[in-house]
């Protein structure tokens, strides 16, 4: 079965991409993913704030106690070579590229405009086949409008595109007032692909100890539904590549994502949960499913259920909500 697909102009042997996770942060697990047939790998994002904070923490922990007591003018050896975090990140990319044959996508989450381009250039130099701009951002500043935020992101994308030759995708969250409009603006600004959608890490509360609780909640197939809706809508409105991200756990999930317009699916929770070998299971399962259901290739299926082609497009819009409310009324017994 022909599972090949094109994503960001890259030909992939199948639609399964390893999304950024601890599994893509280590060379040994990357080797396992490649052996399991994964088609491309997105490295963990280079988080500007994390790097900045870490650098400043390093700086303060090393420099603040230094030069104040005659017997201990320092507490660590002065390393003669760089130890900055971004260097380690780039070094990882170089090592991965050297060790693997599948396309490697570098991910960036920066804050200051200069850094987006700075990191992009360095990743391109280190051999990244494509870049994923991770616009993970919680809009807590009440003085910044949605329009301003979107303009800022578009500006970042434009500057990155001007700086590198490799394809660039944008990872979006669902929290834009007009996602379709924003997607189109991004495409106009040069986005080669969109990744739908970012999963927010949502802190829980420890109500006894009065503390926020941070724990990683892996996705499940229910989360795919939101992605399917936006894949279906956007695949009819933009020409760039689309990737499904969040909630792909099974062959059926993959089929749905591709049918709604995804060129590929990013696997993260599924791999963390079931191990890197699960990529092979999905690949083989997808081939079998296509076979069983009479498809010639994966391409044949792509977008078959998007907003243009789905038998009842109202299902994707407001009417769908109305329908659900109506049906809920049937079952609701009141009280």
């Amino acid at each position: 079965m022909d599972l090949t697909t094109t994503y960001l102009g890259l030909t992939l042997r199948n639609p399964f991409i390893a999304g950024p996770s601890p599994l893509t942060g280590r060379l040994d697990t990357i080797r396992l993913l490649e052996a399991a047939g994964i088609a491309a790998i997105v490295l963990p994002p280079l988080f500007e704030e994390q790097i900045s904070n870490e650098q400043m923490a390093f700086f303060h922990s090393i420099d603040t106690p230094a030069e104040s007591f005659a017997e201990a003018l320092s507490y660590f050896s002065e390393q003669e070579h760089a130890i900055v975090a971004s260097e380690a990140h780039i070094a990882h990319l170089v090592a991965v590229k050297k060790d693997t044959d599948v396309p490697i996508i570098g991910a960036i989450n920066a804050v200051t405009p200069d850094r987006w381009t700075d990191y992009a250039i360095r990743m391109e130099g280190a051999g990244a086949d494509a870049l994923e701009l991770d616009f993970y951002f919680v809009a807590i500043d009440a003085s910044e409008s949605g329009e301003e935020i979107e303009r800022r992101f578009i500006d970042v994308l434009r500057r990155v595109k001007e700086s590198v030759r490799i394809p660039v995708s944008v990872k979006l969250t669902a929290f834009h007032t007009s996602l379709a409009h924003f997607a189109r603006s991004l495409e106009a600004a040069g986005a080669d692909g969109l990744v739908l959608l970012h999963r927010f890490y949502e802190p829980d509360l420890d109500i006894k100890n009065l503390e926020p609780l941070f724990r990683l909640q892996l996705s499940d197939s229910r989360e795919l539904l939101l992605r399917l809706r936006w894949l279906a809508i956007l695949s009819g409105k933009v020409a760039c590549s689309l990737a499904a991200n969040g909630g792909v756990h099974s062959v059926e999930d993959t089929v749905k994502a591709v049918m709604t317009g995804a060129d590929c699916v990013q696997l993260t929770s599924a791999l963390l949960e079931k191990g890197s070998g699960y990529a092979a299971t999905l690949r083989d399962g997808l081939a079998a499913w296509l076979e069983q259901n009479g498809y010639d290739s994966l391409r044949q299926m792509r977008g078959s259920m998007n907003i243009e082609r789905i038998p009842d497009p109202r299902a994707l819009s407001r009417a769908h909500y109305m329908h659900l409310m109506d049906s809920w009324g049937v079952h609701y017994k009141g009280g």
Partner: protein
């Protein structure tokens, strides 16, 4: 040939040559030589090679004795080998030095000469250590400047290869080892030129090899030893000529010419001073000045001190010489004279006798100067020359102090100043953590390397580790700078912390018309009103130009926290005009990039941002028309302080200890305790404030406080009638003590503001969980009120511990600590253990303290944190050495037991007079409970009362010894460097005995005090000095080793993980009548994270299993129970989680992520394996005791296994 000029310190200058000319180094850290070893280790780890292109093998040993042994072996086996040391470390090398010299092995060791510990330890510089080696057979070559430290390192190496005499190359600790100055660097080609291949080959051909076997180190007998010993004479006779020749060869290559004895001054001088080391530079500078005034004076600088060449010495002296003063920087108590004097005397005498020359009538006097880096100034040099002019000069004198006891000291003009007009001096007062010294080091490099100026930087540090004041003395000018003493008048004074104005008279350094730069929260318009009267007066009187900047705000806005260094550095360059402003800013930025680039672009970016906004915030304050209107500086100690504090401690606290005369001091080094209470350092910007409405009265804040500055008390509500209005208290929740009030009080003026108490506080405000039962609040507005509250708090009755049966965490903290306000780092992980120890045993406690952090915060003057209770009892504390502490503490026990036995013997002699029942009662063993101790104290009081009516000598003796009937608790304290490494042999031996001593190892897993070198307690995968890429072996399991004896009580504790467990272990160890060992996890700034989080990290260490909690009690074995109880066995979190919180592990991750992962996996496995062993032991039931062994005086606190262990 143009050589590279660099601005470096003496340690780097010497190490640079030593590294490039050797193949092997065996090292051990000791101040002030540690940086030499650290640099070599860093260079080796970074791939630098020696001049032959080989990697230099660097190995840290367990002690200097170990390093010397390894050096000896490496030398004999043919490798060019070096080492670095000082002071006590050098003493430990002496046995091997005799061997190396006896075997005529070429070798150079580099010594940053430091004071030997006598009545006290001192880390500073003099020649007492090297002079203790003059009899070993080593050649001794002295450098008097940083350039010489560089050059002589090379000359020594060349000379040792040719002469076969090993060389001790030395320079003055701190004054040269830590002075930064511009020097010309020897290139690899220069060094290669000086090394003769034929000599290296000859050296190697003499080495031990099974291919050409010989015997070395034989045992000789009366028939041959003497002759063999004399057989090396010719080598010593040839040595001086060889060194001279090498110096000439060196001069031919570099243009820098040296002599064995080098004379400076008038060729027809009549008065000459002889000395060696950094003081020579000051003497030369002074001689030049005096010569210009027409004085016929000179100075003879000794470079090759051993072998002492009489011929070279005599020929270096001017023929016109009439009077000679020899200055020794050491003291040999009881000797006829100090050593250099004796050598000179012998030389003159022998030469005079043989030749009957012009030198026969020369007047010779000898004096001591500069012990422990005491300043040696031109005024002192001049005083010595003046003395030589006297008809009857003092034959033996001291200079630099006021000896009002034996009247040896010479008077000198303290104001005599010869600083050249072309030298610009600048003095900066900074706070340790604000980065002032680092920035000044950069400035010196900028000026030295980027301009034609010569530059010198010297830095004076505090004796405290928290809130430390640093004073930087910078000189620069067009001529090489020789002045090896502190600036006295400067054209630029900078105060980087506004609060210093209240404590330090920094404007004493200001020359008329100088610039005064102040980091001030107050702007140019309002600052004047906030200045103390003395500061206003000095500004007006000296007509200073006065600038202010709110550096704190600029730093905060640039995201730099409290690091104001680059801001103040920018101000310095902008005002001083050393460089054009724009150029200076470019250079500063370049220097920031160079310094911080490897730490990350963000660090560079923020520093640059700080620099960019500095000049807009720098303002000159117009002083014309101002009036002196400020409040006078407050007295440094209050009026109610004891006389000794006012007369001795207070001047030391003001930095005026130099002025105190000899009679002030106890001649045996005895000092009073209980003196930190008078310091009131006010170093915290924020202090904790108690919110009684939220408090759950758990006392965690108190038990974790490293400085005993947050305390709790319970007291009778009636006592509140006199309380200050702002004093807070609430009814005590517990009713175990009846109706009592409870309070938590902060010593706001003593608190370091570490915030640790807030971190551990478990009580949250339910409406605003960000707030707890204690919250950090700015200190300044609270100071007066809290001072009053704290005074009232201290006046409340102390908790009577004899009223409780069981001490738990809460009650332990009602007890007044007898260790308070130490100078330890803010947030220190060690001091809470020490404080707890004094709460449990303080009034009957003897502490033997190994050298290290705990001896510094425990015994570094001017003040002592150990204090006394209302009865005047408190810990008796002493430090002997680093290496002998276990034995030293055992000595305490032996003496206490001997005196106790003697007391009992005497007492039994009074059986009939004192009533035999009473004698029996007072002599029976006393259980180690507070109630029983209190009862016994009562009996002893009664005994003393009864003895008053007996008039015999025996009764008086018994009276004096009677207090030994109250059990004394002997504790041996030290860090892991002592316990695991240098002192392990002694510690092991003490554990092997059955004496009742308690050993507390404050385990930071690193040599904290000397700056973070790896010890055998350093965990796997942690970066430390000498383990830059992560330590690649596990820490040794000291506890398990101690358990193997069977009769040793052993506990592993972590206060941050379980306070109750720590308390239990301390109580069990104290009650156990044999040897006890407690290994206490102590977080440390050398781990690289915010110490507020120390307790949390301790808990994580326990939860992940790298730090198990256990107690091994031999009494349990005697009771038929498994002796080991594992109280926390980890496995709750992955070890990697613990590792990623600390810079020491993260640094490895940044350098080599794969290595980090490997270490994390290995550490996980090691923790699990270690726990498996413990689990196994904890299930062992050993055969019960059938008599013999240590007699338990009471049962163990716990005899049952934990339920899960039984299952």
């Amino acid at each position: 040939m143009t050589r590279k000029s660099v601005t470096i310190d003496g340690n780097e200058a010497a190490a640079s040559v030593a590294f490039r000319l050797n193949e092997v180094a065996a090292i051990y850290p000791i101040t002030p030589s540690s940086p030499m070893a650290e640099l070599c280790d860093t260079w080796s780890a970074s791939g630098r090679k020696n001049i032959w292109g080989d990697t230099v093998s660097i190995t840290e040993m367990q002690s200097e004795g170990g390093a010397a042994g390894a050096v000896h072996g490496a030398l004999l086996a043919g490798a060019l080998t070096t080492t670095f040391t000082a002071s006590q470390g050098l003493l430990l090398m002496i046995p091997d030095m005799y061997k190396i010299a006896g075997e005529l092995i070429p070798f150079v060791m580099h010594v940053a000469a430091r004071t030997l510990a006598t009545h006290a330890l001192s880390i500073f510089g003099d020649h007492s250590d090297v002079m203790a080696c003059r009899q070993t057979g080593f050649a001794m070559l002295a450098s008097s400047s940083v350039q010489e430290a560089h050059d002589m390192a090379c000359i020594a190496q060349a000379a040792t290869l040719e002469s076969r005499i090993p060389f001790l190359h030395f320079f003055d600790g701190f004054r040269t080892s830590h002075e930064e100055v511009k020097i010309e660097l020897l290139s690899d080609d220069d060094l290669g030129f000086m090394m003769r291949d034929d000599l290296i080959k000859a050296n190697r051909s003499r080495s031990l090899s099974p291919d050409r076997p010989v015997l070395r180190g034989a045992t000789e007998n009366p028939d041959t030893f003497f002759q063999t010993r004399e057989a090396s004479n010719s080598f010593y006779l040839a040595c001086a000529q060889i060194v001279q020749r090498v110096m000439q060869q060196f001069a031919g290559r570099t243009g820098r010419s040296y002599d064995l004895f080098e004379y400076y001054g008038d060729k027809t001088a009549e008065r000459v001073v002889v000395l060696m080391g950094s003081g020579a530079q000051t003497a030369i500078e002074t001689v030049e000045r005096l010569e210009n005034q027409g004085d016929k004076v000179g100075v003879l600088v000794v470079r090759l001190y051993r072998p002492f060449s009489v011929d070279h010495f005599i020929s270096a002296l001017p023929k016109t010489l009439k009077a000679l003063a020899v200055l020794d920087r050491t003291k040999e108590a009881g000797a006829v004279a100090d050593p250099l004097y004796l050598d000179v005397f012998t030389a003159l005498r022998e030469y005079g006798n043989a030749e009957g020359t012009h030198l026969a009538g020369v007047r010779l006097i000898g004096g001591r100067y500069g012990l422990s880096s005491k300043e040696f100034t031109p005024g002192m040099v001049k005083a010595v020359f003046d003395e030589l002019r006297n008809d009857k000069p003092k034959n033996r004198f001291t200079i630099g102090i006021d000896d009002d006891v034996t009247h040896l000291s010479l008077p000198y003009d303290k104001t005599y100043d010869i600083e050249g007009g072309d030298v610009v001096g600048a003095v900066f007062f900074g706070l340790g953590s604000d980065g002032t010294v680092g920035a000044n080091k950069n400035s010196i490099k900028i000026i030295g390397e980027e301009t034609d100026n010569f530059a010198q930087g010297y830095y004076v540090y505090d004796s405290k580790k928290s809130g430390a004041v640093t004073i930087s003395h910078l000189r620069f000018g067009p001529r090489p700078i020789r002045s090896a003493y502190l600036l006295r008048q400067a054209k630029f004074i900078a105060c980087h912390q506004f609060s210093f104005l209240e404590k330090l008279d920094m404007l004493q350094y200001a020359a008329p018309g100088a610039v005064f730069l102040l980091n001030s929260p107050y702007g140019a318009d309002e600052v004047w009103e906030h200045l103390p009267e003395e500061v206003q007066s000095a500004i007006m009187g000296k007509q200073l130009r006065f600038f202010v900047i709110d550096g704190g705000r600029v730093a905060r806005e640039a995201g730099m926290g409290s690091r104001i260094n680059t801001i103040m550095q920018t101000c310095f360059f902008a005002i001083s005009g050393v460089l054009p402003r724009e150029e200076a800013i470019d250079k500063i930025k370049g220097s920031i990039k160079k310094t911080y680039g490897k730490k990350g672009e963000e660090v560079v970016r923020r520093n640059w941002a700080a620099v960019d906004t500095t000049l807009d915030n720098l303002h000159e304050v117009s002083v014309s028309g101002r009036k002196v209107s400020g409040r006078p500086r407050p007295p440094i100690v209050p009026d109610q302080a004891p006389d000794f504090i006012k007369k001795v401690t207070a001047p030391m606290m003001r930095g005026e200890g130099d002025r105190l005369p000899v009679s002030t001091f106890s001649p045996d080094g005895t000092w009073p305790t209980a003196t930190t209470q008078w310091e009131k350092r006010n170093i915290a910007y924020e202090v904790p404030v108690w919110d009684p409405a939220v408090c759950i009265q758990c006392m965690k804040c108190s038990i974790h406080c490293p400085h005993a500055t947050i305390r709790g008390k319970i007291f009778d509500p009636a006592l509140l009638s006199n309380a200050p209005s702002a004093f807070q208290s609430v009814p005590l929740h517990s009713k175990n003590f009846g109706e009592k009030q409870f309070t938590i009080q902060v010593a706001a003026e003593d608190c370091t503001g570490c915030g640790l108490c807030v971190t551990v506080c478990p009580a949250k405000n339910k409406q605003d969980p960000k707030r707890k039962a204690i919250n950090m609040t700015p200190q300044a507005p609270l100071r007066e009120q809290q001072r009053e509250n704290y005074a009232f708090f201290l006046g409340l009755p102390d908790f009577d511990r004899s009223t409780v049966d069981t001490i738990d965490v809460k009650t332990s903290q009602y007890i007044t600590p007898l260790f308070e306000y130490s100078g330890a780092c803010a947030g220190c992980g060690e001091t809470p253990y020490v404080k707890l120890l004094t709460q449990l045993y303080g009034d009957r406690l003897l502490i033997a303290n190994a050298t290290g952090c705990s001896s510094i915060y425990g015994g570094n003057l001017p003040t002592c944190p150990y204090t006394t209770d209302r009865e005047g009892r408190g810990p008796a504390w002493a430090n002997s050495l680093f290496e002998d502490n276990a034995e030293f503490g055992l000595g305490f026990r032996l003496a206490v037991d001997a005196q106790r036995n003697q007391t009992e013997r005497l007492l039994r002699g009074f059986g009939s007079v004192l009533e035999s029942d009473f004698v029996e009662e007072v002599t029976k063993p006393v259980p180690e409970s507070d109630k029983d101790i209190a009862l016994q104290r009562g009996r002893v009081r009664e005994l003393k009362r009864r003895l008053q009516s007996i008039t015999t000598q025996e009764a008086r003796r018994l009276e004096m010894l009677a207090d030994y009937l109250v059990p004394k608790s002997v504790w041996i304290l030290g860090g892991d460097g002592w316990a695991y490494d240098i002192g392990y042999g002694g510690l092991d031996h003490v554990l092997s005995t059955k004496h009742n001593v308690n050993i507390l190892v404050l385990d930071t897993g690193v040599y904290s005090n000397t700056g973070g070198q790896a010890s055998k307690a350093t965990p796997l995968g942690a970066a430390a000095k000498f383990a830059a890429h992560g330590k690649d072996t596990n820490e040794k399991d000291l506890g398990l080793m101690a358990m193997s004896y069977g009769h040793v009580y052993v506990a592993s504790v972590a206060l941050g993980a379980q306070e109750g467990h720590t308390l239990k272990a301390f109580l069990e160890a104290g009650s156990y009548q044999g040897p006890s060992l407690i290994i206490a996890y102590s977080h440390c700034i050398a781990h690289g994270y915010d110490l507020r989080l120390g307790p949390q990290q301790q808990k994580l260490a326990v939860d992940c299993g790298v730090w198990p909690l256990y107690r091994y009690d031999p009494r349990r074995a005697d009771a038929g129970e498994p002796p080991l109880i594992v109280d926390a066995e980890g496995g709750k979190r992955p070890v990697s989680e613990y590792m990623t919180n600390e810079t020491r592990f993260k640094m490895v991750e940044k350098l080599d992520p794969e290595a980090f992962r490997r270490y994390a996996a290995e550490s996980q496995l090691a923790a699990e394996r270690r726990m498996a062993v413990y689990r196994h032991i904890s299930q062992l039931r050993l055969p019960a005791s059938k008599g013999g062994g240590t007699t338990p005086t009471e049962g163990p606190a716990e005899t049952s296994l934990q339920p899960e262990k039984e299952a």
